[in-house]
């Protein structure tokens, strides 16, 4: 069963269409990347999935059920702009917000202690929220978004403000959730995080889907016809190569229109060269993002 199925949702505010006929699905046990420039409609899409606002038309289905009050307990949400009750203690904040998700006090406290200990936050459980650093507050918010064992977790910029140690800790926890079969939707501007964590992505711009599918397939579709080469000795002229770009430690060979990387490799090997690295160049997601969004701006 699909964890989330969004079909043809439309949302407009006053006269502006913010999300326009958007459809996508997320499977269980998958980390799904939701990317797009500022104002593309990501947050509005997330809010519709979280049942915070209703779409003007179209449907959102969570685990085969239409969104309703009862499905809300299966959702976990870490909003981009976040905060907690400043004067409340860490443990009380977690228990209160967990109780809104239908947990009883006892099991909320038990699970809170477990997660606090897992994140190394147990010594701070009696502190007030205002005494915590920004990164610590964010860990608490992450705990709040997963404590009730949701089937779908949406994380909006979860790594912003975290130090490398906590970023690593959080990534580990995300992979654990994925392995437990949860569906995770990750929205971030940090493309390297998407490349590291996500199986599939959806890129939206002006409320519409512009890229959707497996990350590897998208990258191969956008690859330029070039290879990256690290070698020993002299390269000389290689037939089928139109341009050589020398980078630090490696060379990028731009291939002629009908030449394949396979042919180039054969030619190099036949010369008896020592090759340390031969890689079909795929552009980083960042570059694809700029190309797709940039094109839309033109």
């Amino acid at each position: 069963m699909l964890a989330v199925e969004v079909s043809h949702i439309v949302k407009s505010f006053v006269d502006k269409v913010v999300v326009n006929d958007l459809s996508f699905s997320v499977s269980q046990g998958e980390i799904f990347g939701l990317i797009g420039p500022n104002g593309a409609g990501k947050t509005t899409t997330i809010r519709m999935m979280m049942d915070i606002i209703k779409p003007d038309s179209g449907d959102v289905t969570i685990l085969g059920e239409k969104l309703s009050e009862s499905t809300k307990n299966k959702l976990g949400y870490l909003p981009e702009e976040r905060g907690l009750y400043k004067k409340l203690k860490v443990i009380d904040s977690i228990i209160y917000l967990a109780s809104l998700k239908g947990m009883d006090r006892h099991s909320a406290e038990e699970k809170a202690n477990e997660l606090l200990s897992q994140t190394g936050m147990l010594p701070h459980k009696g502190k007030r929220i205002e005494e915590l650093s920004r990164g610590m507050g964010q860990i608490i918010q992450f705990i709040v978004s997963v404590i009730h064992d949701p089937k779908l977790v949406v994380l909006d910029e979860p790594f912003a403000g975290l130090d490398p140690v906590n970023t690593d800790l959080l990534k580990g926890m995300l992979f654990d959730l994925k392995n437990q079969g949860k569906a995770l939707i990750l929205s971030t501007h940090q493309m390297n995080e998407i490349e590291e964590l996500c199986d599939r992505i959806l890129m939206i711009n002006h409320g519409r889907s512009v890229l959707y599918g497996k990350l590897a397939e998208i990258k191969s579709k956008y690859r330029s016809n070039s290879v990256l080469l690290e070698f020993e000795g002299e390269l000389g002229e290689v037939p089928g190569v139109t341009e050589k770009r020398t980078h630090k430690g490696y060379v990028e060979l731009v291939l002629a229109g009908n030449t394949t990387p396979q042919q180039i490799l054969e030619r190099l090997v036949s010369r008896g060269m020592v090759i340390n690295r031969f890689e079909v160049a795929t552009p980083p997601l960042n570059e694809i993002f700029l190309r797709v969004v940039g094109k839309a701006h033109e």
Partner: protein
């Protein structure tokens, strides 16, 4: 705030007892001198706690005043009968002669002027001609169960102030809570857990319960404070009575008034971008709530004026107005019915409007929508 109001009342009682405790002895031991230039003022020199001492000349009286033998003196000039002027001399800086001194001089002059001319009992009546005892009759001519008077005013008056305070505190509290949740974006997490309607209901009921608890603390502390105040206001406490239906109407108007202001606060909390802005906006609505308190004395002396009917039916002022009017007059049944119906309809109307805009504007941060935008979203819902 719950405990501060009773504590302020306690402070007032203690201070007023201290002040009256200091003021009383000076009256008790007073000796007043007088110079009789007209002649014939020899009797009645002992007036309660104050003794009057005669001096032959103003010079003698001044010396006695400076020595401290007397507190003050007055001179009855030869033309007193025609002019009516008495000259009073004192060392103290005062706004005016104290009521006790004025009464003593007044009675001393009256008694001496009338001595031997009319019977003693008549003199006493001339000095205090009126002790008005009013009895209210019903239309059948029987003595009415509710007699009115200041004794009937005190509880409605105190309760109306408490009601206004409680409503203002709870609305402010609700606004602050919503403002804080908007400012720190908790509203997103709350709305992803509960529906906007559940959130609104929970807030109104939760803060309503807190408001009721507050009023309960005040109501329980009131009899204790009244007992403490007994020595200050004396036998007045025994005249205190509750107007009929007071408790029922007090509860009804507390609940309705509270509901009205909490739905107003919720909608203001939704559209304002922070709690400070919200508090400025709610002021527009709490002002009419307090209007009846400004006109307390007018209402006491002109209870039949049609202006009060307007304030009774106008929903924002109704809760306080009705409670206060119960103390000064009888409110016709049709006015009570109209007032309650208008209140209930206003609550339902504002609640319906609020649920339409609540969710949209709770998620809108940073800028307050213009009135036009709010109206448009009310239409589109």
């Amino acid at each position: 705030m719950t405990l501060i109001v009773p504590l302020i009342a306690l402070l007032l009682i203690v201070v007023s007892q201290l002040v009256s405790g200091i003021a009383m002895p000076t009256v008790e031991i007073a000796t007043i001198g007088y110079v009789d230039e007209l002649g014939g003022f020899q009797q009645y020199t002992s007036q309660g706690n104050i003794t009057l001492v005669r001096f032959d000349t103003p010079g003698d009286a001044t010396e006695a005043l400076i020595r401290g033998d007397i507190n003050e003196y007055f001179v009855i000039p030869p033309d007193y009968i025609s002019a009516g002027v008495i000259n009073r001399y004192t060392l103290e800086k005062q706004l005016a002669a104290s009521p006790a001194v004025t009464t003593v001089i007044n009675n001393f002059l009256t008694s001496n002027l009338l001595a031997g001319k009319v019977p003693e009992a008549t003199v006493a009546r001339i000095e205090a001609p009126l002790n008005l005892v009013t009895t209210r009759l019903t239309e059948t001519g029987a003595v009415a169960p509710e007699q009115g008077g200041y004794g009937a005013l005190i509880i409605p008056f105190v309760f109306s102030i408490l009601l206004a305070l409680s409503i203002i505190f709870s609305s402010t509290y609700l606004l602050q809570g919503l403002g804080e949740e908007k400012e720190n974006r908790l509203i997103e997490i709350l709305l992803s857990s509960v529906s906007a309607r559940q959130l609104l209901t929970g807030k109104v009921l939760g803060i309503g319960a807190a408001g009721l608890a507050q009023v309960a603390v005040w109501a329980i502390s009131a009899p204790l404070l009244l007992n403490l105040a007994y020595s200050s206001i004396g036998g007045f406490v025994s005249t205190i009575q509750l107007p009929p239906n007071f408790i029922v109407l007090a509860v009804v108007y507390f609940i309705l008034g509270y509901l009205l202001f909490s739905v107003i606060s919720a909608s203001i909390g939704a559209i304002s971008s922070n709690s400070r802005e919200g508090q400025q906006l709610i002021g527009v609505f709490t002002l009419p709530l307090l209007i009846p308190l400004w006109f307390t004395s007018l209402m006491m002396f002109f209870p039949g004026n049609p202006v009060w009917v307007f304030f009774t039916i106008f929903p924002l002022s109704a809760p306080v107005e009705v409670i206060m009017r119960l103390g000064v007059s009888v409110i016709p049944a049709w006015q009570l019915v109209a007032s309650i119906v208008v209140l209930v309809l206003s609550i339902i109307g504002i609640l319906l409007l609020t649920t339409r805009i609540f969710r949209t504007y709770l998620l809108m941060y940073g800028k307050r929508p213009s009135i036009g935008e709010v109206l448009r979203s009310l239409r589109t819902g």
